[in-house]
Structure formats: structure tokens, C-alpha cells
């Protein structure tokens, strides 16, 4: 069947629409990979997630509203793919997550981790002593609902509303999980810093322990 002029025009129009994808979506490949890696904990799974995410995004590029940020949209697709894959095996985790969502309260304004380090290292210099692998391990050990918001906010720079859109939760829940998650992460990093000797143990334990 020979190509009619209209068919070629349609094909070129299709190609042109997809070219926007290269400028607007492909640059986020690294960010999506990092996110997928932290979600799945596996480079192989992350690679699969990246490929599937970009394929889906590419296929629905025409429906994508340019008003929203491509980065958030890609993260949404990626996370949904991840959850769908996990859903088949771990249904009870979702029940836990649903329970977590009801906690919209913000944590105590006085940061207990800061209170612990107070005189030993009030400015948190011990954070500098930690290497990337240690920080990533601590992030990976966080409960998923905390890890997701921290990844999106503190590693990928999304705003509260963007995170709310990606995860499909209210902004209030984003803030609550974010602030609690950060505390939890600080506790873990602090404990690790004590273990590694970045903070003298004698000064570190101020509870008489």
C-alpha cells in the first residue's frame, strides 16, 4: 500500500509531537533511575522500571498536560509501576500505608535528635562525616511512606504539592510524613555517627545511659 500524502503528514505530525518528549522528558532519565533505585533497592529492577516508565510516558505523551511538570509526571508513572509490581506480592504493606496516611499531625517542634547532640555537635557537623553509602543505607531502611516523600523532596527537589500529586495524598500528609521521616532519618544517621565515632559516645548519650 503506497503512502497517501495525508498519511505521511499524519506520520510526521506524530513524530514532531514525540520530539517534544526528547527535550522535556528524556533529561529526567537520571532522576527517574535514582528514584527507581531507591524504591526498589535493585539496579536491575530500577532499569526495568525506567524503561517501562519512559515507554508509557512516551505512549501517552499526547495526553500529557504540558502545564504540569514532566518530572513529577514521570515520577508518578514510575511509582505506580513499582507499586503495581509489588502489589501482587505484598498486599498487607498497603494496609499499613493506609493507616499511616491518617496521621496528619506534625511532630514535636523540638527536634529530639538535636537535643541529644546539643553540646557535642550542635551544628550537625557529623552529617558531613557520613559518606553517601551510609546515608543511602539509612534512607533505604526507612519505612516506604517516609522514604518516598524524602526522596521526592530532599533528593529530587519537588515541592509539597508536586509530591502530593505524585503520591496521591493530601499536602498535609506530605508534610507530616516528610517532617517525621526526616526525624527518623536523622535518628538513624546520628546513631550511625555515634557507632562510627564521629560523636564521642560519652557525650552523645545524655539520658544517663
Amino acid at each position: 500500500m503506497t503512502e497517501a500524502p495525508s498519511a505521511r503528514a499524519a506520520q510526521e505530525g506524530f513524530q514532531a509531537a514525540k520530539e517534544g518528549f526528547q527535550e522535556e522528558a528524556l533529561p529526567y532519565l537520571d532522576a527517574v533511575y535514582r528514584f527507581a533505585l531507591r524504591l526498589s533497592g535493585s539496579p536491575d529492577q530500577a532499569a526495568d522500571l525506567v524503561q517501562e516508565t519512559f515507554l508509557r510516558a512516551f505512549r501517552s505523551w499526547d495526553q500529557y498536560t504540558r502545564g504540569t511538570k514532566a518530572k513529577s509526571w514521570l515520577f508518578t508513572i514510575c511509582r505506580n509501576l513499582f507499586l503495581r509490581g509489588r502489589e501482587r506480592m505484598l498486599r498487607h504493606d498497603q494496609l499499613i500505608e493506609r493507616n499511616m496516611e491518617r496521621d496528619d499531625t506534625l511532630p514535636d517542634p523540638v527536634n529530639p535528635v538535636w537535643a541529644s547532640v546539643d553540646s557535642a555537635d550542635p551544628e550537625g557537623a557529623f552529617f558531613d562525616a557520613l559518606v553517601d553509602a551510609e546515608i543511602l543505607d539509612a534512607i533505604d531502611a526507612l519505612p516506604e511512606e517516609y522514604r518516598a516523600v524524602i526522596l521526592l523532596s530532599d533528593l529530587e527537589g519537588l515541592a509539597y504539592q508536586e509530591i502530593a500529586d505524585v503520591l496521591g495524598i493530601p499536602v498535609g500528609t506530605v508534610k507530616s510524613r516528610l517532617f517525621r521521616g526526616r526525624r527518623r532519618l536523622q535518628e538513624a544517621l546520628y546513631a550511625y555517627a555515634v557507632e562510627m565515632g564521629h560523636i564521642p559516645a560519652g557525650v552523645a548519650s545524655r539520658d544517663g545511659g
Binding site: 519512559f54 550537625g124 509539597y160
Partner: protein
Amino acid sequence: MVQEFLDGALEDVSAEQVRAHFEACSRCYPHLRFERSFREALARVTRGEGAPTDLKRRVVDLLASAAGHDASGTPEGDG
């Protein structure tokens, strides 16, 4: 408040007031420094971490063949 301030989530006027307070107040300033050190450590983590090169290539190939396949519905090699 510190969290929202550092997240850039406060309106300009409030942000300015909060910043001025935290930097002047000797009790609050260490909290701010502490939170900043924490954020800086996290921000450091992502630098240099990217997708493997072969993965990028695979994605581009995948999209190229998807484009060819979806556009014409006929096998590639028309043009």
C-alpha cells in the same frame, strides 16, 4: 516552621521574617544550622549518581522503535 522555611514553602514576607529571626536568635540559630547540615548531606548524595550509560541507550532505542511502530502501524523501513 524551620522545615517549611528550609523547604521554601513560606510566603516571601514570612520567610524573610523567619530567616531574620532564626539568624538573630541565639537559641534558634543552632536548630537552623543543624537542619541545614542535614539537608546539605542529603543534597550531596545525589550528585554524580545517574543511570548507567547502556540503560540510557536502551531507553532511546526502545522509544525509537515504539515511535516507528506506533506512527505507521506498518513495519519500519518505509523511509
